[in-house]
């Protein structure tokens, strides 16, 4: 084919250079290389999607500047290739139409990408909403003055939304995402995002998905890889325990759990002395258990720690036992046989009853060691051990044997454990790396104890833990969390902040989703919220309809009947509007005139009576509406789409198809090369 030549040696250098560049962009060589490159990148992109999910490929490829550049170069190539052949000849009609169509299509895509909106409105039946949520998050801060009492007063000053590009992965994971995709070229907002007027926000770390867990807590496994006769099989029972500051006071925190073979208890030791006493206060056979149990006391004084063992029966008879070498004596107070609890008092031996040193009370419970009260001032800690009596195998399984494993977080934030299986106690440090220690011995085999996870803390607190990346999890199911450093008037705090979820009915933000930092003059409260668009009118879901195929639970059809409400809460349309799958509806923001297209996306629920969401719904939304509360409620998810490039893209597509047809019709270009090849061969 004729390759247009524009540059010639008689032109000034810069014109020649420009023309050379023009020729280069218009050349087939450039086009072929570009198309090949694009095809390869597109293909690789789908493999990235397969490996890491849709969100990741959008972040790492489709929405990056370099991919946009590639497309832009294609646009330049298409433009130059068509322009350089001007004036066009008749047989080039199809070629020109196709290439103009391509340019129009690319322009339409650019318009959509820059100005388009694709967001979702989740709606419960009967509820209304005007905010459509996107997948990205931003920070928002509410700043109030600090009053004389230190509490926030007055109106709030809003800061934000501060856009936060976080990326699809936990930030620590990028190193492990070995891939041909240059993740580093996609910007993430790390570091200072806002610094003005004494308020400074810094992002230190980010989890794309996280869970909240209590600390101190342990996750254990008890079991064996070969349990049962004949080699057996792997059986592991999970144990999940948290420290309960007030073990008798109830509460939601689970600190003891029954497993096959016994009970596992977890608590926290407050001091070195307590930890050492925990490990040392084990019973011995020589002392025996009497009828009511063996008391083992450990004394930490100025001298070496000392160990003292005697039975409850002995103490009850003698009323007082002296602890040799400590200068202390133990008085018997009372004994509760049913619960196996004994109450003691520790006092200086010299003083005796009635001295001015008040006796310090101790409580030891055989089966509830976590409620034991030590005589801290006197430096005496201890344990009570009771003979469980005879028990056959099935009784043992039911816990009659009182077998138990005590696990504590020690004073220096490690783990220690002791296993009590009558009449022996094994005690020692518990490795947190998952290596096994012996647990209960069962008739069927010996069990082991392994630590899966240990979260240490000084007081009960909620910690944020990363969740490994799961490509199949939709963004709405992920709990994003960012580690922030927020400074207000010089006061600086670091904390993990969880993103607010996209839910049909927003709960008030919980403690991990809204954090306050109090500076000297002001208090700032920060949240991480999903970005949303106000579409300018309320959408009320009157009814969500889901039809099923006969006799199955497979949906055959779903649609939402909605009303569009204006500011006065009056419907803007003459009658309710039905939005069905594959049949979207257009409606414009009355204020701006921007036309949104609403699609039926999916649904959530059903929520049945008893579910908190259902009860809240009946109380708040449906209250007084009808005398017949719904049997179940469902939520419909509508997609709100604003696409300024839609028409342009349609026009471009039409041109491309028309152009290709024209080429076929006019048989332009088709057999030239073949003829030449045949001629060449002849």
């Amino acid at each position: 084919m004729a390759r247009p030549r524009l540059a010639s040696p008689d032109q000034p250098a810069w014109i020649r250079l420009t023309l050379r560049l023009y020729e280069f962009f218009a050349s087939l060589r450039f086009a072929v290389v570009l198309i090949s490159l694009l095809a390869i990148v597109l293909g690789l992109g789908t493999f990235v999607e397969s490996a890491y999910g849709t969100e990741a490929v959008k972040f790492g490829v489709w929405n990056t500047w370099w991919f946009t550049l590639l497309n832009a170069l294609l646009g330049v190539s298409v433009f130059c290739a068509a322009a350089i052949r001007y004036p066009w000849k008749r047989h080039q009609t199809g070629f020109v139409i196709t290439h103009i169509g391509l340019l129009v299509l690319l322009a339409g895509c650019l318009l959509s990408q820059r100005g388009g909106i694709d967001a979702q409105i989740p709606l419960l039946e009967g509820d209304s909403g005007r905010r459509a949520y996107e997948d990205s998050h931003s920070f928002r801060m509410e700043v109030r003055r600090r009053g004389a009492d230190g509490e926030a007063t007055g109106g709030a000053e809003m800061i934000g939304p501060i856009a936060f590009r976080s990326g699809p992965f936990n930030w620590d994971d990028y190193g492990s995402k070995r891939s041909f995709i240059p993740w580093g070229l996609s910007p993430r907002d790390r570091g200072v995002l806002h610094d003005a007027d004494g308020i400074r926000l810094e992002v230190l770390d980010f989890y794309a998905d996280s869970t909240a867990a209590l600390a101190p807590s342990v996750k254990l496994r008890i079991g064996s890889d070969s349990f049962g006769p004949g080699g057996g099989r792997g059986v592991w029972m999970p144990v999940d325990l948290s420290w309960q500051p007030n073990p008798l006071g109830g509460g939601d925190v689970r600190h003891r759990q029954r497993v096959g073979g016994g009970t596992v208890v977890f608590w926290k030791s407050g001091s070195k002395a307590e930890t050492e006493a925990f490990l040392a206060s084990v019973p011995d056979a020589a002392t025996g258990f009497g009828g009511k149990g063996q008391i083992v006391l450990v004394h930490h004084g100025r001298t070496e720690p000392s160990l003292h063992r005697f039975t409850v029966d002995e103490l009850e008879t003698k009323k007082t036992i002296e602890l040799p070498g400590t200068g202390l004596s133990v008085d018997f107070r009372d004994h509760e046989p049913k619960l196996a609890v004994v109450r003691l008092a520790i006092r200086p031996t010299a003083g005796g009853e009635g001295s001015e040193v008040k006796p310090e009370e101790m409580v030891l419970a055989a089966d509830l060691p976590e409620v034991n009260m030590s005589a801290r001032r006197a430096g005496v800690h201890g344990s009570l051990w009771v003979d469980p009596g005879p028990a056959d195998a099935s009784e043992r399984m039911q816990g009659k044997a009182r077998s138990r494993i005590d696990v504590i977080q020690t004073h220096d934030r490690t783990l220690a454990y002791r296993k009590w299986q009558f009449p022996l106690v094994t005690a020692g440090p518990l490795p947190a790396d998952g290596s096994p220690v012996p647990a209960f011995e069962m008739p069927m085999g010996k069990l082991e104890l392994r630590v899966d996870r240990f979260l240490s803390a000084d007081t009960l607190e909620v910690v944020t833990l990363p969740v490994p990346f799961d490509k199949a999890k939709p963004p709405s199911a992920k709990r994003r969390a960012a580690k922030l450093r927020l400074s207000v008037d010089g006061t600086s705090e670091e904390f993990w902040l969880a993103g607010l979820p996209i839910q049909p009915i927003q709960e008030n933000p919980g403690p991990t989703e809204r954090r306050e930092v109090a500076g000297t003059r002001r208090i700032a409260a920060i949240t991480m919220e999903p970005d949303s668009v106000d579409i300018g009118f309320d959408v009320r879901l009157d009814n969500f309809e889901r039809r099923l195929d006969p006799g199955t639970s497979q949906a055959s059809h779903f649609s939402s009947v909605v009303d569009f409400l204006g500011d006065s809460r009056k419907p803007l349309t003459s009658k309710p509007v039905t939005i069905t799958m594959n049949a979207p509806v257009d409606f414009s923001d009355p204020a701006t005139g921007r036309s949104y297209r609403l699609f039926q996306e999916s649904f959530m629920g059903p929520w049945l009576p008893g579910d908190p969401l259902y009860e809240r719904f009946v109380r708040d939304v449906d209250a007084g509406r009808s005398d017949d509360p719904p049997e179940a409620i469902e939520a419909s998810v509508l997609t709100v789409n604003y696409d300024p490039g839609r028409g342009v893209k349609y026009a471009g597509s039409a041109l491309i198809v028309a152009g290709i047809f024209t080429m076929f019709y006019m048989k332009a270009y088709f057999f030239g090369p073949k003829k030449r090849a045949v001629q060449g061969a002849a």
């Binding site: 789908t46 055959s556 594959n582």
Partner: protein, 849 residues
């Protein structure tokens, strides 16, 4: 090899092929179960013939649709090939006799070890792998049960941790056997079977109690306290009759449920039409299903419409177990209180008919099963039709009219078509014909060119017609376009490819006649037909409602906001684009239709031309087309017939795929482009074969180059180029149509979905080749190589996206399997390419030249 010898071998090959084909088509069953087979049953969301149902269930249970099993009661006896419907009938008639017969799928060694069963059996014919276990093996195995419990524990743990749980390896096989066992037990469940755990009853009872509790809280004085007490007492009676176990006598439980239902009915009557009344009537309904569940433990054969009002509601709770049809076992065993609305005499007839069928099946030798089964079918039809008026009177709040229609007892003969389809496997003939065509075209390269060419063309035409007929049958059964799953596309591609090939083959002969017919459409006498057909096209495209909300395919007026008449600029452009499709369609489609009919007259007339000899020799020169087309068509249809490709069986369509014109057009176009790509690939392979094995021509004097490749390569290059152009046209149009469809149903024109992206990659790959060719960088060899590479890319977008990537929104097409075959295909292609490239380089550019 001499020509004669070659011909001899070819003829022998043809004979072998035809003999094999005859084998594949033979073996028509002597069928005395045809009424049984055609019995309408409800399953998987549609009314289907029992034959299809039986195939599904038998495959779940035995891992084959026609397993080779011993006869009932004779576990050690000789095995015979069972037909699915016959096997199901036998199971239903004498489940106990099958208790010790191994027929449940249990092939995995680990599974057999758990069951304490041997893996091999040494018989007279040598060592044989054992594949099945008996129900008693499964029921009595402690190890198997423990394994199930353990799997369940892990599943629960995964769920509490929010992790995905996937069954792998032996676990999946354990689960498969368990599913087979449960399916068999559920199918053959009868109320007298006190040993069976009543899982469905227990579940429904829980939900009925929960429903009563929530109703009770809201009754608020609408019902007298005595009536509420009676209901309460009823529920405690049920609990007392049931006891702690899931195994209990049926009669007492039935009485208790019926009594409770009567109490609820009394309360409902006094509550009237209030909200409480509606809730009570729903509860009444649930109690009816609860009582029925004593006779139907789930997954049973549903044979007549049920009288459940809730099953016909527009909005049904997906979790609620409310079948639209009634089980055969319920009809046979339930007391009259539960069958109110079913004429008692007809029910008695059914019972009697089943008893005699059972007698005929179990008798030795078998009695007149044909007559007995036909009697049962007739009696069931009588019940099914008698209950229809009753069904229409059901108190439904908001009736789903479609549902009522779909679940009505179908007219006689409506299931015949599907039974014939199942039995005939109509696509089998397609590969047989294609194979025969391939053999003929292969022979056309010998001396008998002309007869073999015409025989091959005739066979190709026969293959096209046969496949079209089979497609028509399939569409008549499923009611949607034949490109909704992998299986259908695997057949559609060879079909379209054959059409394309036939056109390419015959175009030298027919193009003049077709051209005449086309021009004739402008004749004044054609105005009336053109207007008539054009009006029809206009009506279909722009006026007939085809989807939800009475929408049309294309809009005559631009889309506007709700309650507005002014379109915005975007919608105006979209409308204009629609007009650009509509106007040419209305203008040209009538001409296409008329000229297609007219060609039948003009083509034979044009043959009288003096040029015929020239045309014929041109057509004969294209016989390599025929060879390639029949080869690729055979490969495609054979793969579809031979491999278990997902989608072979009919199943309901995903909601997003229903009622969608754009979907049909988009997928048809894209899949047609695959066919054009496959044609280019076939031609490319043939061309590469010539490069590899052909004899190179000596260099011409004028051009100082080396030897030139075989002449066939140059001719083929032209064909490849054309096939690629067709592929590009169809790919571009299909990709854009996909954008339109995505815009209509998902709200965005382009969403970077892998299927979309790969369609674009295929398009770009072919564009690279065409542009490179245009620039003169790609010679004939490059074109052949490009066609093979292009086929690899198409393979990726067709098979790979669904089976290798497993991501994105086109998730209704995912599957597994075939990876090895796919990669082997790629490897063989690349090997051929590399070998041909090596020969081409060394052949055309010998060292030193």
């Amino acid at each position: 090899m001499t020509n004669r010898k070659a011909r001899f071998h070819a003829v022998r090959l043809l004979l072998v092929c035809l003999a094999f084909a005859g084998l594949a088509c033979g073996g028509v069953r002597a069928d005395d179960l045809s009424s049984w087979r055609r019995l309408p049953v409800l399953d998987d969301g549609r009314v289907m013939p029992l034959d299809t149902f039986a195939r599904r269930k038998v495959e779940t249970i035995t891992n084959s649709q026609s397993p080779k099993l011993p006869v009932a009661g004779k576990a050690d006896g000789p095995a015979r090939r069972w037909d699915a419907a016959a096997l199901l009938l036998d199971w239903l008639c004498r489940p106990d006799a099958w208790e010790d017969v191994p027929f449940l799928i249990a092939e995995h060694e680990e599974v057999r070890r758990l069951l304490d069963l041997p893996v091999f059996e040494d018989g007279p014919e040598g060592r044989k792998r054992l594949k099945h276990a008996s129900p008693s093996d499964v029921a009595d195995s402690k190890g198997f049960r423990e394994r199930l419990v353990e799997i369940d524990d892990r599943r629960r743990e995964a769920r509490t941790n929010g992790e995905a749980f996937r069954l792998e390896g032996a676990d999946a096989k354990v689960d498969q056997l368990w599913q087979a066992f449960v399916t068999f037990r559920q199918l053959s469940f009868r109320a007298e079977d006190a040993e069976m755990g009543r899982s469905r009853f227990t579940r429904l009872l829980d939900s009925a109690i929960a429903s009563w509790q929530s109703t009770e809280r809201r009754l608020a004085g609408a019902v007298g306290s005595g009536e509420a007490d009676a209901i309460r007492a009823g529920f405690s009676d049920i609990l007392a009759a049931v006891g702690e176990s899931t195994r209990f006598p049926t009669a007492e439980a039935t009485t208790a449920v019926v009594k409770t239902r009567a109490a609820v009915a009394a309360a409902r009557e006094s509550a009237g039409a209030s909200a409480a009344g509606r809730m009570l009537s729903r509860l009444e309904e649930r109690l009816l299903v609860l009582a029925e569940s004593l006779y139907d433990n789930g997954d049973a054969v549903l044979v007549v419409p049920a009288l459940h009002a809730d099953a016909l509601e527009t909005e049904r709770n997906a979790e609620e177990d409310m079948p639209a049809w009634l089980a055969l076992a319920t009809l046979l065993d339930a007391p009259p209180e539960l069958l109110a609305g079913y004429p008692a005499d007809l029910v008695a007839d059914v019972r009697q008919a089943f008893a005699s069928l059972k007698e005929a099946v179990t008798a030795v030798p078998q009695g007149d099963v044909a007559a007995a089964s036909s009697r049962l079918a007739g009696k069931l039809r009588a019940v099914g039709e008698a209950v229809e008026p009753e069904r229409r009177r059901l108190p439904v709040d908001r009736l789903d009219a479609d549902l009522l229609r779909w679940t009505a007892y179908p007219p006689a003969g409506s299931t015949d078509r599907e039974v014939a389809y199942n039995g005939g496997d109509p696509f089998r003939m397609s590969w047989v014909l294609a194979l025969a065509g391939l053999a003929s075209f292969a022979l056309a390269f010998g001396r008998a060119t002309k007869p073999m060419f015409w025989l091959g063309t005739a066979l190709l035409l026969a293959e096209i017609l046969w496949t079209a007929k089979a497609f028509a049958e399939r569409i008549a059964i499923t009611g949607w376009a034949p490109v909704t799953n992998m299986y259908e596309t695997v057949i559609y591609v060879p079909f379209f490819l054959s059409l394309l090939g036939l056109w390419f083959l015959l175009s030298p002969i027919v193009s003049k006649g077709v051209g005449e017919a086309w021009r004739f459409t402008t004749h004044w006498s054609m105005i009336l037909p053109r207007v008539a057909i054009g009006a029809g096209v206009l009506w279909v495209l722009a006026m007939a409602p085809y989807a939800a909300g009475g929408r049309t395919i294309l809009r005559l007026t631009p889309q506007t906001d709700v309650d507005s008449w002014m379109p915005n600029a975007n919608n105006l452009v979209v409308w204009l684009v629609g007009l650009c499709v509509l106007v040419p369609s209305v203008w040209y489609l009538p001409r296409v239709a008329i000229s297609a009919v007219g060609s039948l007259a003009t083509v034979p007339r044009s043959m009288r031309s003096a040029d015929l000899g020239e045309w014929l020799s041109q057509a004969y020169a294209r016989r390599s087309f025929g060879l390639v087309v029949t080869a690729v068509a055979f490969a495609g249809t054979f793969i579809a017939w031979f491999f278990p490709i997902p989608g072979k069986q009919f199943s309901p369509l995903q909601p997003v795929l229903r009622d969608n014109f754009w979907l049909t057009i988009h997928v048809l176009t894209i899949v047609s482009s695959y066919a054009a790509g496959a044609l280019a690939w076939g031609l490319g392979c043939l061309s590469l074969g010539h490069y590899l094995f052909g004899s190179y021509r000596p260099a011409t004097a004028g051009e100082g180059r080396g030897p030139r490749p075989p002449e066939a390569c140059d001719v083929l290059a032209g064909f490849i180029y054309r096939a690629m152009q067709v592929a590009v046209l169809l790919l571009a149009a299909g990709t854009i149509l996909g954008g339109l469809w995505a815009d209509v149903s998902w709200g965005r024109f382009w969403g970077w979905d892998p299927k979309e992206v790969w369609a674009l990659v295929s398009l770009l790959a072919y564009l690279v080749v065409l542009h490179g060719r245009y620039a003169g960088w790609i010679d004939n060899f490059g074109l052949a190589a490009g066609s093979v590479l292009g086929a690899a890319v198409i393979g990726m977008s067709w098979y790979g996206v669904n089976f290798l990537l497993g991501a994105g929104l086109h998730s209704y097409g995912f599957g597994q399997g075939g990876q090895t075959e796919f990669f082997a295909f790629l490897a063989v292609n690349m090997l051929l390419l590399v070998a041909a490239a090596w020969r081409y380089r060394s052949g055309c550019h010998p060292a030193g030249v």
